[in-house]
């Protein structure tokens, strides 16, 4: 009996997901179609990339509120470099960037911002909430400066392939998401670094006494969160063929929601990448279903809020002894 119960609790998010799909299939004949399936997958790909980074951060008992802004800035950097390159008027130089060069630069910028977050948090003991809140506005402001407040558009077909192309019958964003997830699973489950992430979040003091370099682990997870935000940004601008200065606004909320619904504890040390993927899927399926059912967007937000609450209450029941 207890075995049945614990199994049910363990797979609660998968069960919820399946139940949600069944209900939506009954309610709408447009839900269970290949097009809608790929649509949902494509839509969640960006959130999953960001949320994988968020999961690592939250596993160390941190939080990253700046993912949306880092996404926008990294995307804008890639867009600007692709479109205009860098001009250094005093030396009469114009650096032009290949697609790969621009993408690489975007990823580096994301990683750089994340590293800065980590540095503030470890070196100056700024609480993660505050450090990344500051970055949320810093990176947003930098995006506005870089773009002058206007969207950058038109990147050509090669670049558009990332967001809109298909490969072996699967959309490119889904490939990218799958790769990110696969690598993250191996990192969290199979590498020393992954082990250290869990140890730092589970008991920082015990981890320190075991010779784990706490600060190094933390800087890395924030850097990775930055890089993965940049990945999300690059997918987004490629899909829209446009880098909007206000892209990624409030993405941190969907991302935290996916992590939390997926059963990762905000007090650190417990959770998984697969859980987060499920969480993102639940949000994605719910979004799509509510749109198909013509539910007003205002109600959609309210329903999403209650789903988050419900997921966390279930998690609490599942782990009564954590604070």
């Amino acid at each position: 009996m207890t075995n049945v119960k614990s199994t049910l609790l363990k797979f609660q998010s998968i069960i919820a997901l399946v139940a949600l799909c069944i209900v939506l299939t009954i309610l709408s004949d447009k839900f269970l179609t290949p097009e809608n399936g790929w649509n949902i997958m494509r839509q969640i790909s960006i959130n999953v990339c960001i949320s994988v980074g968020m999961t690592l951060v939250i596993l160390t008992k941190g939080i990253d509120l700046s993912v949306g802004s880092m996404l926008a800035f990294a995307g804008a950097i890639t867009a600007g470099l692709l479109k205009n390159g860098i001009a250094i008027p005093s030396m009469n130089i114009l650096l032009e960037f290949t697609v790969f060069g621009a993408i690489f630069a975007g990823l580096m910028v994301g990683g750089g911002l994340g590293t800065f977050n980590g540095w503030m948090i470890t070196r100056f003991k700024v609480p993660p909430f505050v450090a990344t809140l500051a970055m949320l506005t810093i990176a947003r402001g930098a995006t506005m400066l870089w773009t002058g407040g206007f969207p950058i558009t038109g990147f050509g077909d090669t670049f558009a392939f990332i967001g809109t192309g298909w490969f072996l019958g699967i959309p490119m964003p889904v490939w990218i998401m799958a790769m990110v997830v696969a690598i993250a699973i191996v990192i969290t489950k199979k590498t020393v670094f992954g082990r250290h992430i869990y140890a730092v979040g589970g008991n920082e003091s015990a981890a320190r006494l075991s010779g784990i370099n706490i600060n190094k682990v933390k800087v890395w997870v924030y850097a990775i969160a930055g890089i993965l935000s940049a990945v999300g940004g690059i997918i987004l601008i490629s899909r829209l063929d446009s880098a909007q200065p206000n892209a990624g606004m409030s993405y941190e909320l969907d991302s935290i929601a996916a992590v939390v619904i997926g059963g990762t504890s905000l007090s650190g040390g417990r959770g998984s990448i697969m859980g987060t993927v499920q969480g993102a899927l639940i949000i994605g399926v719910l979004n799509s279903g509510l749109v198909l059912l013509n539910v007003s967007p205002f109600w959609q937000q309210i329903i999403k809020g209650f789903v988050i609450l419900f997921a966390v209450i279930m998690d609490r029941l599942n782990h009564p002894n954590e604070d």
Binding site: V192, R195, N203, L209, S210, I212, N213, G269
Partner: protein, 506 residues
């Protein structure tokens, strides 16, 4: 003859168990009206547990409490408070960013006719209370601006506001200066005059002789004796009261031939974090040979834990001094350096510092040496499991599986997992800080045997313990840490509980 009304508060046959551990065993205690009743005993004797029962923190226990000859039972500190029993904890429970008056009236705020706080009246009453305590602090001062001694005063005032008839003080002088101690004693004297009974815990014997009216000795959870009229008591009597035990099946360490020197510490000093002119300990020198168990004894706050931590690389920016492993000086900038050079530390609080409780045994065991279970860049769960199996067998860890979460293990088995973690690093020197705290007698004995067998294998061991029989049983040589320095060094043959206690108290 004893007049009944002399006894205000009484505990009869109090027994308290935590899982398998008996913390208190049929303890009887009388609190005399308007007197200072002192409980003496070593660390871990059960003093704090007893206080928590008397003040309603622990509502389940066996035995009964009598207040004014009526049986009472407290389900919460609030209920005890209503009867007039207040406790002033070792760690003060004030809210730093509220004023003195706000703290004193916390939870009992006075409201005016509009239902709003009547701050003026509360300030006035606070002033009254403080005057009663001979203290001229301003009620509007923030608690965060007060010195520890003054904060203690506020706690006492808070107790008096609740019309406390019994005030329990747990180590009240451990954190305050000499002049503050003096004024605390004046306050205690004036409380006595107001017929308030004091129950006082401390192991600073000299000051106890100044203020105590009655002594109660507690050891290993049992009451071992009382001195009813303390006027003629001497320090030696108190020490006997604290340590005088019947010796029963105490573990006896096997002699192990000593090898080469494995650890040497020279001129090790650690200044206090916020006051660099004073020291936690200063110019400590000692060495440990292979196969030797060095005990370090000292009272709470003597800097034992900090000494281990410092050698283990936890305070690299504050400390000074040198550490030599096998005659080679090692640079200690971090814990990693210490581990790399063959040191391991089993910390005092295994739940807080030793284990990641929501992780499996396997991951805890490999935590400090995860490199040895990595194959092709990835952690191999198979070799990790076999590493754990090896230590589960060797240390007799009782668990249904290697994948058990450490939070589900008993205290003794948890401690063995922490030991396994360090043994897995193949250390040359192992530091153990209170290795048997909070574990039952059988597990204690097993740990002693383990320490013994590690010494046989040629490890150097440094064991910090505040339990006298323990340190006498397992250590070849004992250093007593007191007043920032090594106050005595005794070999097992000529060490005794009395000698150790005397050196520690000095």
């Amino acid at each position: 003859m004893e007049n009944l009304s002399d006894i205000l508060f009484e505990a009869q046959g109090i027994t308290k168990r935590f899982g398998g551990v008996t913390a208190l065993d049929t303890v009887n205690l009388k609190v005399h009206t308007g007197k200072v009743n002192v409980i003496v005993g070593e660390n871990g004797a059960g003093k704090s547990t007893l206080m928590k029962i008397l003040s309603g923190v622990y509502p389940d226990y066996e035995g009964k409490l009598l207040f004014n000859n009526e049986e009472v039972h407290f389900n919460s500190p609030k209920e005890a408070m209503q009867k007039g029993i207040a406790i002033i904890h070792q760690e003060l429970n004030l809210i730093p960013y509220l004023t003195i008056a706000q703290n004193i009236f916390l939870g009992r705020e006075i409201r005016n006719v509009f239902g709003l706080l009547d701050s003026k009246l509360m300030r006035y009453k606070t002033k009254e209370l403080l005057t009663r305590l001979d203290c001229n602090l301003n009620p509007s001062t923030l608690v965060s601006e007060l010195r520890v001694g003054e904060q203690q005063l506020v706690e006492i005032a808070k107790a008096l506001l609740g019309e406390a008839k019994v005030v329990i003080m747990d180590e009240p002088t451990s954190a305050i200066s000499d002049s503050e101690v003096e004024s605390l004693f004046k306050i205690i004297a004036s409380l006595k005059e107001q017929n308030v009974s004091i129950l006082y815990i401390s192991h600073k014997l000299d000051e106890l002789l100044l203020i105590a009216d009655h002594f109660i000795g507690l050891r290993d959870g049992k009451m071992v004796g009382t001195i009813e009229n303390s006027a003629h008591a001497k320090k030696d009597d108190l020490i006997r009261l604290m340590v005088g035990r019947d010796i029963k099946n105490v573990f006896q360490k096997e002699k192990v031939p000593l090898g080469e020197e494995v650890l040497r510490v020279e001129k090790m000093s650690l200044p206090r974090k916020f006051d660099k002119r004073s020291y936690v300990f200063k110019d400590i020198d000692f060495s440990v040979k292979k196969g030797e168990v060095l005990g370090i004894f000292g009272l709470m706050g003597a800097g034992r834990t900090e000494l281990l931590e410092t050698i283990f690389g936890l305070h690299p920016n504050l400390m000074s001094g040198s550490v030599y492993i096998e005659n080679k000086e090692v640079k200690l900038r971090s814990v990693m350096d210490a581990i790399r050079n063959g040191m391991g530390l089993v910390p005092e609080d295994r739940k807080k510092d030793g284990l990641v409780l929501q992780m499996e045994i396997t991951k805890n065991v490999s935590m400090a040496s995860v490199g040895q279970v990595v194959k092709n860049g990835l952690v191999s769960s198979k070799s990790e499991a076999s590493l754990s199996k090896k230590y589960i067998e060797a240390l007799k860890i009782k668990t249904p599986s290697v994948m058990q979460f450490t939070k589900n293990l008993s205290g003794g088995n948890q401690q063995k997992v922490v030991l396994a973690k360090w043994l897995a690093t193949n250390p040359k020197v192992l530091f153990l800080d209170e290795p048997t705290r909070g574990i039952d007698v059988n597990a204690k004995n097993e740990i002693y045997h383990l320490i013994n067998s590690l010494a046989k294998k040629g490890l150097g061991l440094v064991v910090v313990s505040s339990e006298l029989p323990e340190i006498l049983a397992i250590a070849d040589r004992i250093l007593v840490l007191s007043d920032t320095k090594i106050n005595a060094e005794l070999n097992q043959e000529n060490a005794s509980e009395e000698l150790l206690m005397q050196a520690a108290i000095l």
